[in-house]
Amino acid sequence: MAVSGTFADGVTAANPPAGGTPGGTPRRRRRGRWSAIWSARWSYLYVAPMMVLLVGFVIYPIGASLGYTFYQWNGIGDPTDFVGFANFAQVVNDSIFWGAVRHTFTYVAIVTPVQLVLALALALVLNNRRLRFATFYRTLFFLPVVTSAAVIGVVFQLMFSNFGQSVNDILTGFRITNENIDWLGDPNVAMGIIIVVGIWHTLGYNLVYFLAGLQTIPEELYEAARIDGAGRIAQFCYITVPMLRSVGVVIVLLALIGGFQVFDLVQVLTNGGPYFATEVVNTYIYHLAFGGFGASAVQPNVGLASAASFFYGLLLIGFSAVQVVVIRSLARRRAGQ
């Protein structure tokens, strides 16, 4: 951490040495760069294993799978059936794909704000020094995070399928509903269940991030505000929120990324069904690449799945670009004010 933004020899990135200035010769510039790398060699050494894994298991597969997008290939042997851009055309014209995109964005659009509001509220409560057993509560809220989404999916699937009928009996007994609900088999209910479980599952992450952010706010600020007569709401609006803004942007970004990665929960809870009502893009790609449940009988199409991955990647890059532009314009407007 000590070298972040500061070279080891004490020269800051903002004030580069003479060799690194635009006016320096290329040789001096190169020597300066190498000496900077050499002086930070331990940092590079520590980063190296992670980089090797990243290149081997993320960067390389992405690059390698680009080639597959131009083939119809069942994943066995080498791809030989060249189809050009036909896979991309099929994805673009597939209503199931667009349905999956819609479901993914709906999931993100609901899970992210609800989860962040809940996490912030809980963090404020848990940050209260007078609260007893705060550590116990933190552990309790963080517990779902350390449990695999697939395991949670299995548990909830078993709960709804085994006890769903008993819940139905209670609901109809109290006349809350007139008819039985097929919890994971009803297209209107299943997505709601996935969203609720998704919120519960990763709430702990955001809670911990917010708690860390809250603990960086100096207590003196609140004391000064109280002396000036500020109430709790005023303290929250004029101290907590502005002081959390920078960490808040990171939390929102992480929550969005996590939301777009939703896969295992859907795969285990509903398998994307019924009739694609809960299909998200990642399960759509998985089903294309490996077939449905009876994969032994369904011809998988790795080429089409790769094309869908790339197209979705492009969509997300476009979405991220829009997000960056919006955040920058907001920051600029705020700076203007």
Partner: protein
């Protein structure tokens, strides 16, 4: 210890372990090349049949002393992927159950399988019933690669829970339950069970969480009504998919939606898995369910035996179409890279023996390719004896690859939504119009079929749409293939 000393020690230890690992690998490879002292590897996806396989392994080891056979049971729905990966990593099991993908012809073309002609002589083949070794099915380029193990069998049945039927008063004078034979019988029984249980049980139920159980219902009922393709294949009488042009499909789906509307179907049927549905049926939560003979071992294990089965309920009680299989068949094969082909053959030969097939039937696992083994009187367990007695509802059907082996080069892409999806869409109300949904499905499937034939023709395969037409086929009789 100083840091430098620590690093030195670590490097020395790592070097030693790499060296010893490399040496070990070398010696292991050397060992394989000279004396096949390592155990033979065998892969399958049998879980509920594991008892039979393990017993056969034990008997084989006793009869053939030597290196043991290491059995690995792989996950059913990932088996094809795993075997393909094993080939790619040059780690193929010596003997393995043949995956459904890629097509057997492709596996042979890729050199995965060892030809068995050295051992599978005409004398060996003569132990099987006639016409079991067929070019395009288990023989490719005149070479035998595998053999049939099971006889064509009724793949689906309607299971009836004795308790639910008796509680609803659906019994004969002798106390046995009234088995439904017609679509109306099923409706009446479902109504009686649902209404007389006071909300504790439903007439019908299934577990569609994995998105295939609804297709079983459509398949079983439409076959009985005279649609020979069911949901599995096209109607070979016309060589086209007929989900819309054959009214049986729309009629049954309308009936299914009527059952749902009238509250006869277990409400959580779309949420529960097939395994859970199996358990709920045994608990009497619903009186009837559709499934295969694979249900029976699990129920027996859980001491549930109070059920009966019927197959092919038809609108008028007389099935018009049946279950069909190809002549011949396939089961296990030997890897082209098998370390000890002689012992691998001995194990394969053991699995194909008449005695092993007899034990397969006796344990209630299915029908044997040897007709003598399929005698209901030899089966002690009543529900399985009922199943064995249904053997006459399954026979040889038209098989395009038998008439023209070039058809094996036609690869039809899967369509989405398929019949499983359409069934779920209609059942959950996401698709409103039965006729329109079936018509679009039929178009998708026929287009995929036409495209596949055209693609194969473009690559030089001598195939045409006519290869799928068997005008002389009577679905009520076994089909005898004639040369093209």
């Amino acid at each position: 210890m100083k840091r430098r000393d620590l690093l030195r020690a670590a490097v020395a230890a790592a070097g030693a372990s790499v060296l010893s690992g490399g040496l070990a690998a070398c010696s292991s490879e050397e060992g394989n090349r000279t004396t096949p002292s390592t155990s033979l590897t065998y892969w399958d996806w049998y879980v509920s049949q594991a008892g039979w396989v393990d017993n056969e392994l034990k008997l084989f080891d006793k009869a053939h002393p030597g290196p043991s056979i290491k059995r690995t049971t792989q996950v059913t729905d990932r088996y094809a992927d795993l075997l393909a990966l094993s080939v790619r990593s040059k780690n193929t099991p010596d003997v393995f159950m043949i995956p459904k993908l890629p097509a057997l012809q492709e596996q042979v073309d890729k050199g995965w399988l060892l030809p068995l002609d050295k051992w599978a002589t005409s004398q060996w083949q003569s132990r099987f019933p006639a016409n079991q070794f067929v070019e395009g099915v288990n023989v490719f380029g005149g070479k035998v690669y595998t053999a049939p193990f099971a006889a064509p069998a009724p793949s689906l049945q309607l299971y009836c829970h004795h308790g639910a039927f008796k509680d609803a008063g659906l019994t004969n004078a002798d106390g046995t339950i009234k088995l439904p034979k017609t679509w109306d019988d099923v409706t009446r029984a479902a109504e009686a069970i649902t209404s007389k249980s006071g909300g504790k049980a439903y007439g019908l139920g299934f577990g569609n969480a994995q998105n295939f159980a609804l297709a079983w219902w459509i398949d079983l009922f439409t076959r009985g009504a005279g649609s020979p393709g069911g949901t599995a294949t096209m109607d070979y009488r016309v060589g086209r998919w007929t989900f819309a042009s054959d009214r049986n499909y729309a009629d049954f789906l309308t009936l299914l939606l009527d059952w749902k509307k009238r509250g006869f179907i277990y409400p959580s049927s779309m949420s529960i898995s097939d395994e859970q549905a199996r358990a709920f049926f045994s608990q009497g939560k619903f009186g009837m369910t559709v499934g295969g003979v694979w249900n029976q071992p699990t129920w027996t294990e859980n001491k549930f035996t109070e059920y009966s089965l019927v197959t092919l309920p038809a609108p008028d009680g007389t099935p018009k179409a049946f279950f069909y299989g190809p002549p011949g068949g396939s089961f296990v094969a030997i890897s082209a890279k098998a370390s000890d082909p002689e012992r691998a053959w001995a194990w394969l030969d053991w699995l194909y023996s008449k005695e092993a097939g007899k034990r397969w039937v006796e344990q209630g696992l299915g029908l044997s390719v040897y007709p003598d083994n399929n005698d209901p009187s030899l089966v002690k367990f009543e529900p399985f004896a009922e199943y064995v007695a249904m053997a006459n509802t399954a026979f040889i059907g038209p098989t395009p690859t038998v008439r023209n082996p070039e058809v094996a080069k036609v690869t039809v892409n899967a369509v989405k939504p398929d019949i499983n999806d359409v069934g779920a869409g209609l059942y959950t109300g996401q698709l409103k119009d039965v006729a329109k949904a079936l018509s679009e499905l039929q178009d998708r499937l026929n287009t995929a079929q036409d495209d596949a034939v055209k693609a194969a023709q473009a690559k030089g395969a001598k195939v045409s749409a006519d290869d799928y037409v068997f005008k002389d086929w009577d679905p009520a009789k076994p089909y005898v293939h004639k040369p093209a």
